[in-house]
Structures are given as structure tokens and as C-alpha cells.
């Protein structure tokens, strides 16, 4: 029988895997700490 797979499942299977070593870009903010955080 034909069963419709859940979208999430499809998305998961069809999602293009990240290339090995892929590092997601840092979040745009907050920025770098120049001295120290109190």
C-alpha cells in the first residue's frame, strides 16, 4: 500500500547532508569579547 511519509521524515531523508567538516557560521550577535566578561 502506498503510504504518505511524514514531511519531517521526507525532509530528513531528502535534506542535503552538510559536507564533512562543515562549520555553521557564528551567530551574527553578540560579537566577540575584547577583554573579559564580568
Amino acid at each position: 500500500s502506498v503510504v504518505k511519509r511524514a514531511v519531517a521524515e521526507v525532509a530528513q531523508h531528502d535534506k542535503v547532508p552538510h559536507p564533512v567538516g562543515f562549520v555553521p557560521p557564528p551567530p551574527p550577535c553578540p560579537g566577540k569579547i575584547r577583554h573579559f566578561k564580568i
Binding site: P28, P30, K32, R34, H35
Partner: protein, 258 residues
């Protein structure tokens, strides 16, 4: 197809850093008490386009107090940030800027400063001196004694207190009071002041000569006072930013500038 909106600015992008630099320069240029602050972190940036080459920018900045008093002519880049073990003071600032035809200007700023928690300092450095309130009796006594000791030894102008900038008390191994205060030269020599110090007035703005003193005094067991005062020499006052003109004003953390 309409052009995709520009990607949001990152907090470490060059444009964000340029805006933060203008904001910090404005904050230090419009502060009349305490110390210069340096940028520690850009917490957030929001850009609201108003039209061609016209953006409103909202910045959230995390600043740290430096060792340079606000009256010091030392460039901010040469001002050392007070370290964690010296009981750092942080400034949180919200700044609104406009970028018009590539030129940045500050429209408004609001800052709130607060010292690091004493518990954090003690946990990592049990013997580090902790910030004391500026009206603490031992602090006031040490400042008065230090200024008097300097004026009794100097051959230069008689100095008056402008404001107490900071005070720390170390409890171990010897109870010691450390103070920093801003001073100004008067129209008397120290010798003339011995006769009638009340007659000595601060020099007018066009001749003003500000300075900065540090002093420390071990209380138990009592030891000699150590005082060091340095005058900056005459600086041309910036017309739209009046220098301190109320001697004896003390600076309290948490004072908003808006």
C-alpha cells in the same frame, strides 16, 4: 523580482565596529565624571533603513571602565582596561545613531554602569581589594590626608579636590585603603595657600590645569600614606562639553547618561 533585503549586520562586521567606535567616543566625550570606558563587546545591532543612504542604527554595547579619568588627555587606545582583580566596572549602553550619506552621528545614548559582584572577586581572589562606597569614612579621611600631604610638599600650585573617582579597601593581609581622585590647580602656590587656602580659586577654563592623584594608606597596622599626583597640563576645553566645574563632586556607579 524585488532585490533581496540586505543580510542583517553581524556584530563583528566592520560597519558595526565603526558605529561602535563613534558611539564610545561620543559617550566618553559627553561624560563629566569618573573614567573613560572602552568597548568590550557589541551585544546587538539593528539597522532601520529610512531611505536612500539614510539608516537609523540601534547599538547595544558592553563597555569596561579604564584607568583613565575622564579628564585625562590620554587617548582611549592607550587607556588600560581595569582588570577583573581590580574590581572591574561594566557599562551597558544603548545608543541610537544615524548613518546619512555614509556619515555616522549619535542621536541619543543611555548608559548604566555597575561594578562586578564582590562575591565573584572574593571567590577567585580572596585578598583582592574591593570597591568601597565613595562616602566611606576611611575613604574620605585618606583622600583628605593625601591631598593635604601633597599640598604640604609640592612647590607647584595648590591643588583642590574635583572628585573622588574610585576607592578600594583591601582587608587581608593588611587593611589598606586605595583611593583615586581628580584635582585641579588653583591660582595659589602651595606656599601662599598656607596663609589663606580659602582664597585659592580654581583657574578659569582658558587656563585650567587638571590632574589625577592615587594614594594608599595601610590602616592596621598603620603605615605611611603613599601619594602620587600628576597634573595633565593645560588642555584647550572643548566648547560644547563643559569641563567639571563643581569641585568635590563624587562619581557614583550607575549614573545614567542620556
Amino acid at each position: 523580482v524585488p532585490a533581496a533585503p540586505p543580510a542583517p549586520l553581524g556584530c563583528d562586521d566592520p560597519e558595526s565596529e565603526a558605529a561602535a567606535e563613534v558611539a564610545v567616543s561620543y559617550i566618553n566625550g559627553h561624560s563629566h565624571h569618573g573614567y573613560k570606558f572602552a568597548l568590550n563587546r557589541i551585544e546587538n545591532i539593528r539597522v532601520l533603513p529610512q531611505g536612500p543612504n539614510n539608516d537609523i542604527i540601534f547599538l547595544e554595547l558592553d563597555l569596561l571602565e579604564t584607568k583613565c579619568h575622564i579628564l585625562s588627555p590620554t587617548p582611549l587606545a592607550n587607556c588600560t582596561v581595569r582588570s577583573f582583580t581590580e574590581h572591574a566596572v561594566e557599562g551597558d549602553c544603548d545608543v541610537k545613531l544615524q548613518k546619512l550619506d555614509g556619515k555616522l552621528s549619535v542621536l541619543a545614548s543611555k548608559c548604566h554602569s555597575h561594578a562586578d559582584s564582590s562575591e565573584d572577586i572574593i571567590r577567585l581572589c580572596p585578598d583582592c581589594p574591593l570597591l568601597a562606597r565613595l562616602n566611606n569614612t576611611e575613604v574620605l579621611t585618606t583622600v583628605t590626608a593625601a591631598l593635604s600631604a601633597h599640598n604640604s610638599k609640592t612647590t607647584d600650585a595648590y591643588l583642590r579636590l574635583l572628585e573622588i573617582g574610585r576607592a578600594n579597601i583591601q582587608y587581608h593581609p593588611v587593611r589598606t585603603v586605595f583611593v583615586e581622585f581628580a584635582v585641579a590647580a588653583t591660582n595659589c602656590s602651595a606656599a601662599e595657600a598656607k596663609d589663606n587656602a580659602e582664597a585659592c580659586q580654581l583657574l578659569p577654563d582658558d587656563q585650567s590645569n587638571f590632574g589625577f592623584c592615587t594614594a594608599s594608606k595601610a590602616i592596621h597596622p598603620s603605615r605611611d600614606l603613599i601619594v602620587d599626583c600628576q597634573l595633565y597640563g593645560h588642555q584647550v576645553p572643548t566648547p560644547d562639553i563643559p569641563f567639571l566645574s563643581r569641585p568635590g563632586v563624587t562619581y557614583s556607579q550607575g549614573q545614567d547618561t542620556s
